[in-house]
């Protein structure tokens, strides 16, 4: 479809659990920024709420929520971390 892009969204921790999968393929309007991916995720994921401190990575590099996605991108939503 013209003006559409395909992206892979990688999910971790409680988002992965809520989605029942560690990645979701989305078809989005060209020009969609990383920070808008959330609104396209399944309801079960959106019910968790989006923590303010969520960060984003495109193709395994940190990015900002305003970064525009391109066709074939892998975008990761990085919830507030708790390692250590």
């Amino acid at each position: 479809m013209p003006g559409q892009i395909s992206v892979t969204v990688r999910l971790f921790a409680s988002m992965k659990e809520a989605a029942g999968t560690d990645h979701i393929e989305l078809s989005l309007t060209s020009g969609t920024p990383a920070g808008a991916v959330w609104g396209h995720l399944p309801d079960a994921v959106q019910e968790l709420g989006l923590p303010k401190a969520t960060r984003y990575a495109i193709n395994r590099q940190w990015t900002l929520p305003g970064a525009v996605l391109r066709d074939g991108d892998e975008v990761a939503l990085i919830l507030p971390v708790s390692g250590g």
Binding site: F12, P51, R60, V81, G84
Partner: protein
């Protein structure tokens, strides 16, 4: 150095990795799983990572500690299930003098906890479990049943 591993961590290997005859000492921090969280008994803790990004970020933090403090450094985080009292993270830093070794060591663990995409899921003795990732909105004290 493998920054992430599913095997038990070896603090002795961390010390050996930063040992240098020009250095007067090494500081190390070993993070271990606690028996209690939120006043509930814990059975195991499970760690999950965005592995590629986590490795990159640990490497970057190590580079920062090296250049800021002139230290030799080591950092490793465990993934998967970790039993109570077992190490989940080990960092070490050596330097010619001890203030720098302590500073570099503290920098490593603080920045790893703050920046690296690793999450823990606490499994409780009462059968509940929860991810610690900022989404937890349950009322205090109510177990989250996930299965």
């Amino acid at each position: 150095m493998r920054a992430l591993t599913s095997d038990p961590l070896d603090p002795g290997a961390a010390l050996a990795a930063v040992g240098a005859p020009e250095h007067g000492g090494a500081a190390m921090f070993v993070g271990t799983t606690r028996r209690e969280a939120d006043r509930r008994e814990v059975t195991i803790i499970e760690y999950e990572a965005h592995a590629d990004l986590a490795r990159q970020e640990i490497d970057r933090i190590c580079g920062e500690a090296r250049s800021r403090h002139g230290a030799a450094v080591f950092a490793q985080h465990r993934l998967g299930s970790v039993g109570i009292g077992e190490p989940s993270v080990v960092v070490a830093a050596s330097a010619p003098h001890r203030p720098e070794a302590f500073q570099a060591c503290r920098y490593l663990i603080d920045e790893i906890k703050r920046r690296v995409p690793i999450w823990k899921r606490i499994h409780y003795a009462d059968g509940g479990c929860e991810w610690i990732d900022g989404t937890t909105r349950r009322p205090a004290g109510r177990p989250v049943r996930t299965s």
